[in-house]
């Protein structure tokens, strides 16, 4: 009896130890970045788990730098525009794909799936040509255009999954009442689709906010860059004198909003991610 109790206790202890380990593993790198960002450059190279003094120098340096503020603004504009465009094109397309049976429907779905699996590098030179042809090189608008390639297929895919779950009767009733498809979408479906749209919008926002390859390739000057490029290029120069304090401060500034969003909306995000994947 006591041996059994002992092994039960041991199991519980082991279980909680594992949970603590997972927590530490998941959170520690971010925690370490946060405490580093509050250290003055003189103490930067003393390894410690809790800083002996807190300073805002790094934040002041980063937030008074015009190019970094500009990069944040660019990132916000790009991400919000991308979300808006992807949702607008995505909701109409997924309505057509879910509610109307027509020839070529599965082909369209297959194309969408194919595009979502695209390696971005595969279109880099072609897209570069398009963007330059449209006069959008070194312009956030060029990024908005290019981000459609990974946000739109995904948005259509997830919205399609969500829309399938809505009862068909709703729409039949609307048709009986003589509603046009556009009215059906805006007056019947949109109100019901808000949760799904919030989820997909959030995921698209995160994807656009984090994108690096296109942002690095299609912009040239400090004033046109987005945040990931700005942070990656902060290091620049020689490999030995990296400004770690400001890099960590900048990282925290651009990450905290995302982490807060993710923690608030974790349920929605999980359902969005799984809806996008389970269908694949």
């Amino acid at each position: 009896m006591t041996a059994r109790q002992l092994s039960k206790i041991a199991k519980r202890v082991g279980f909680w130890a594992l949970i603590v380990l997972i927590m530490v593993y998941a959170v520690f790198p971010f925690y370490y970045a946060v405490i580093t960002s509050f250290k003055p450059s003189s103490e930067l190279f003393r390894v410690e788990l809790w800083p002996s003094s807190w300073h805002l120098d790094n934040y002041i340096q980063i937030l008074t730098e015009a190019s970094f503020l500009r990069a944040i603004l660019n990132s916000i504009v790009v991400a919000i525009s991308v979300v808006f465009i992807a949702l607008l094109l995505g909701i109409t397309a997924s309505y057509a794909l879910v509610r109307v049976r027509f020839r070529g429907r599965s082909t369209v779905l297959l194309v969408i799936l194919g595009v979502s699996m695209f390696p971005q590098v595969a279109v880099l030179s072609g897209l570069f040509e398009v963007i330059r042809g449209l006069g959008l090189y070194n312009n956030p608008a060029g990024l908005i255009l290019s981000y459609i390639i990974f946000t739109l297929p995904f948005t259509v895919w997830v919205l399609t999954t969500f829309m399938k779950q809505l009862p068909m009767e709703l729409e039949e009733a609307a048709i009986m009442d003589g509603a046009t498809p556009w009215i059906t979408i805006t007056k019947v479906f949109l109100p019901l689709m808000w949760p799904a749209m919030a989820t997909t919008g959030l995921l698209a926002f995160i994807a656009a906010w984090n994108e690096f390859l296109f942002a690095l390739t299609f912009t040239l000057t400090d004033t046109q860059r987005t945040v990931p490029v700005a942070i990656a290029l902060l290091s620049g120069g020689s490999a030995h004198e990296l400004p770690w304090g400001p890099i960590m401060a900048a990282s925290v500034v651009v990450t905290v909003p995302l982490v807060v969003l993710v923690i608030i909306f974790q349920r929605r995000i999980v359902s969005g991610l799984t809806a996008g994947a389970v269908k694949g």
Partner: protein, 328 residues
């Protein structure tokens, strides 16, 4: 749509049916038209940003286009891929750096996706257990996924810093190593560092997909197994794993496709060093840094073909395996 009342007399019924059907087709035709109308903006957008650029990349790979002057490209056939000049081979297929980057990419993808699957399943199993504070742990696990890849690469670069990094500090503290390791600079360890960062960032994704599958499993077979006194490990391999395999396969293909096109982590952690260079890094370097659009496009095209081939092979193998599993 074509149901009708069975109580109506025969003639009236068919007349009603015909009237209904013609109205039905009219509505239908209108609806199909509307469907295409609704699809058109999306299709145009995808053509503009995906279809056309992909076609142009294929095309440019057969030219000597340069970044500064895309307009005046000459068609040069397969010279970017492979050409024999005076008994020596040139072109990507003869470039050892390209083949090294292919090997790096495959190695990176296989190792990191395998680790992610193993740890992702473990984390999912733990999150599936019921305990106090599960929501908090789940939120914490999501954090690495939410952090931009660039930021996580920088955070780890700082922790892995050879002189002042906490990881070297801790490893030396517990006596695993005597001298600090140059994680991101040395040819031996830099790939390990890249994999470490990628695994950290993507375990949450795999874990969440598996968790979603776990939560849909029927409870009764576990109760039966418990009544029969079967060891949990056996239950896991005989019951749980086969049941979550479809979800796991989806997670694996998503991750694999992502890993094969890896760019950000490697670029930020080790920049253009050949010891970790992936196919994407190689292609972009040719394209942007060396301004050789033709050659870079050829590399992009090869990357595209490799990924397409891997996808087809994976789907084929997966289907085959599922069928075999279904037969057994």
């Amino acid at each position: 749509m074509t149901t009708s009342q069975s109580s109506a007399p025969e003639g009236a019924r068919s007349a009603a049916l015909i009237a209904r059907r013609s109205r039905g087709t009219k509505v239908r035709r209108q609806r199909v038209k509307a469907a295409w109308l609704f699809l058109t903006p999306m299709l145009i957008a995808l053509t503009l940003v995906a279809g056309w650029p992909l076609f142009r990349t294929f095309f440019l790979s057969f030219t000597d286009a340069s970044l500064s002057d895309l307009g005046t490209a000459n068609f040069i056939g397969f010279e970017n891929y492979l050409v024999n000049e005076n008994g020596r081979w040139f072109g990507i297929l003869a470039d050892p750096v390209w083949w090294h980057s292919v090997w790096n990419t495959v190695y990176f993808s296989v190792v990191s996706v395998s680790l992610e699957v193993v740890f992702g399943v473990i984390v999912a199993l733990i999150l599936n257990a019921e305990f106090k504070g599960r929501t908090i742990v789940r939120a914490a696990v999501l954090i690495p996924w939410a952090i931009p890849t660039i930021v996580s690469a920088q955070m780890w670069a700082w922790m892995l810093n050879d002189q002042f990094g906490i990881i070297n500090h801790m490893l030396m503290g517990i006596g695993v190593i005597d001298d600090p390791i140059a994680w991101t600079a040395s040819a031996t360890y830099s790939m390990l560092a890249v994999i470490m960062v990628d695994v950290w960032k993507t375990i949450p994704f795999v874990a969440l997909l598996v968790l979603a599958a776990l939560q849909m499993l029927p409870k009764d077979c576990y109760e039966a197994a418990e009544v029969d006194g079967i060891h949990p490990v056996r239950v896991f391999f005989k019951v749980t794993l086969p049941l979550v395999t479809p979800a796991l396969m989806v997670a694996v293909i998503f991750r694999l496709l992502d890993a094969l096109r890896v760019f950000d982590v490697i670029y930020v952690l080790t920049s253009n060093s050949t010891s970790t260079m992936s196919m994407s890094v190689y292609a972009r370097q040719q394209l942007v840094e060396f301004q050789d659009v033709g050659y870079g496009s050829a590399a992009s095209t090869l990357l595209f073909l490799i990924i397409a081939l891997a996808t087809v092979a994976y789907i084929y193998a997966g289907r085959k395996q599922l069928q075999l599993g279904g037969d057994a």
